[in-house]
Amino acid sequence: MIASMDLSSINPVVLAAALMVAATPILLAAIGELVVEKAGVLNLGVEGMMITGAVTGFAFAVATGNPYLGMLAAVAGGAGLALIFALLTQYLMANQVATGLALTLFGLGFSALLGQGYSGVSPPRTPRMDFGPLADIPVLGPILFRHDPLVYVSLIIVAAVWWFLRYSRAGRILRAVGENHDAAHALGYRVRLVRVAAIAFGGACAGLGGAYLSLIRVPQWTEGMTAGAGWIALALVVFAAWRPWRALLGAYLFGGIVTLQLTLQAAGWRIPVEYLAMAPYLVTIVVLVIMSSGRARRTLSAPGSLGRPFHAAG
């Protein structure tokens, strides 16, 4: 068995390219949720919004023959589901945790309903980006310049969110709303409106992440195909301490672990695969436990008003 442990058969370039693909769906979902949480809202419905995006994206791509229209539909589908959450939590004052969990259950069931008849159907192919000679650069070319467009879109979104939260006036208002909604309200900012917009953005990103699975990663529609990716995205936001570039790092770390352990196994290496396979879910559980403890949240510098209902007073 030692004989089959041949490191030379593992191509790090292929591995690096594959990890970006494996990471993209959770990166998209996580960056959306990061904005939602920065606005002080905890939406546990990421899994439900992802799977809804996966099915709406798939259905529209098949119907129109155009994967990009499918992606737009996924954005709309995820955002649409998120707006239900916004209505319930921001206007009807429903509990955010319970509503988020319900959103996940609803999304899983609703997507199964919408997806009937799409089993075994092939979606239109999403072409890879054409960077011309850049794709032929040794090492860097295959890693960076031969992906599908959504990989680059996800990176652009991360950069945009970082810039928005850090430098834009609107981003500062959003952060203020998340840190202390009473103070933000007293200053005249429209807490609810900001939060609804953030929730819709989070849903749109989660939907796009789901469409990445159904249109590019797997590419097919299968019920329940997100298989927990939304929960990992939620954990990733906390792991990233609500910082966009750290979310990118965490997602790529996750993608790297997944890809590396599968590749090592395929190459015949004996690795503690049972622990590696378990790791993302264990971390997720730990993180969700931490999230529910007030003191731990403060030490992690969570947004001050995260998960707290806002009642406009005075």
């Binding site: 068995m1 191509n11 594959a18 199964a112 097919q220 329940g224 997944v258 196994q265 190459a267």
Partner: protein, 361 residues
């Protein structure tokens, strides 16, 4: 039937039982519940169980009423779902995954009047727990042979779920027959630690193809891997159901789980009041394991060999685990001409000689 209807049924049944007592009317339909590990739309394991449920319901024309709960993890959730079913007046429960064993037996102990049928398990601690399983290794022998004959890189990729005897048995059966057909063939096994995760299964298929595999086999429930095989143009086999729709060009055949005849037989026994716990392990011969149509790209000689093997297994003339077979470490397991006892297969925790790699703990 879905979760909501089940819950509505539950509420109704509770209301009725308090009103009317527990006397069942003669023309009441028998109520049969199914508990699934995955979604009914997985196109594999759970899908095919649900097809069998529908076949049984149609067969009995109103004399039974079925319901199901899907995506139930084993452990506390499965126990709760089955308890709920039993409390709601369901007479017979099919629990369709290996991991439900402890839950089935725990609930069965509390509801001695409910008949439990547990698929692919081994725990039978209560008199009202029946076990049923299919000899999937017979189908795996066939696909192993085809893989051995058709691989050009001599590397077969195998996507495995969990290191339990059922899965190890399947790897060994496929490997033995691939090796018999092609002495240079190697198996690369990737454990994904999930029954259903399309993205992970797809990533595993990609990793295996990257390592030179040109035939992919799976012991997981989704079409994620075979879909990648289709995209990358490598050969593959379906699992549990005919998956050719997901991979029309490369789906050589599939091992098909045919549960409906068993479900009909057992429900009939319950209707007749003759149900008692059994331990069933049927194969190709009894019709519990079937093979999907062989793809046109399988060469004629290989097709003839595969069909011959299917016929011999069905007739009981050939057992896929017939000695001499050694364990991976070289120690003898089966002597010349010896056939593996069922007990050895059901507890199989070792690879056969020639396999590389180790089974995870």
């Amino acid at each position: 039937m879905n979760r909501r209807q089940l819950l509505a049924g539950t509420a109704l049944a509770l209301g009725l039982s308090t009103g009317l007592g527990t006397v069942a009317l003669a023309d009441d339909p028998l109520r049969v519940g199914f508990v699934y590990i995955g979604p009914v739309g997985d196109q594999g394991w759970t899908f095919i169980h649900d097809q069998a449920r529908q076949t049984a319901e149609a067969h009995f024309e109103g004399r039974i009423e079925t319901s199901f709960v899907e995506s139930v993890p084993y452990g506390a959730d499965a126990e709760r779902v089955m308890t709920q079913m039993a409390l709601s007046g369901i007479d017979m429960i099919f629990a369709t995954t290996f991991g439900y064993g402890p839950d089935v037996n725990a609930v069965a102990a509390r509801f001695p009047d409910v008949a439990f049928e547990h698929a692919t398990g081994f725990m039978q601690e209560e008199p009202n727990v029946s076990l049923y399983n299919a000899r999937f290794y017979e189908g795996r022998a066939v696909i192993g042979h085809i893989a051995g004959r058709m691989t050009e890189t001599n590397t077969v990729g195998y996507i495995a779920s969990f290191p339990i005897p059922e899965v190890v048995m399947g790897i060994n059966s496929a490997f033995l027959h691939a090796r018999a057909a092609n002495p240079d063939v190697q198996f690369r096994v990737v454990w994904v630690y999930s029954w259903f995760d399309p993205a992970q299964e797809a990533a595993a298929a990609e990793a295996l193809i990257e390592q030179g595999a040109d035939v992919i086999m799976q012991h997981t429930d989704s079409t994620g891997a075979i879909r990648i095989a289709q995209e990358r143009g490598v050969l593959a086999f379906g699992q549990a159901a005919d998956m050719s729709a997901a991979a029309p060009d490369v789906h050589l055949t599939a091992i098909i789980n045919q549960w409906a005849p068993y479900y009909i037989e057992r429900i009939q026994a319950r209707l007749d009041g003759e149900w008692e716990a059994r331990d069933t392990w049927y194969g190709i011969g009894e019709g519990m394991v079937g093979m999907a149509p062989l793809h046109a790209r399988i060469p004629d000689d290989v097709r003839a060999e595969a069909e011959g093997m299917i016929a011999e297994i069905a007739a009981g003339d050939y057992h896929p685990f017939t000695g001499p077979i050694n364990r991976q470490d070289g120690t003898p397991w089966l002597a010349e001409g010896e056939v593996a006892p069922d007990g050895d297969l059901l507890g199989m925790g070792f690879y056969v000689e020639g396999m590389t790699g180790e089974i995870p703990d």
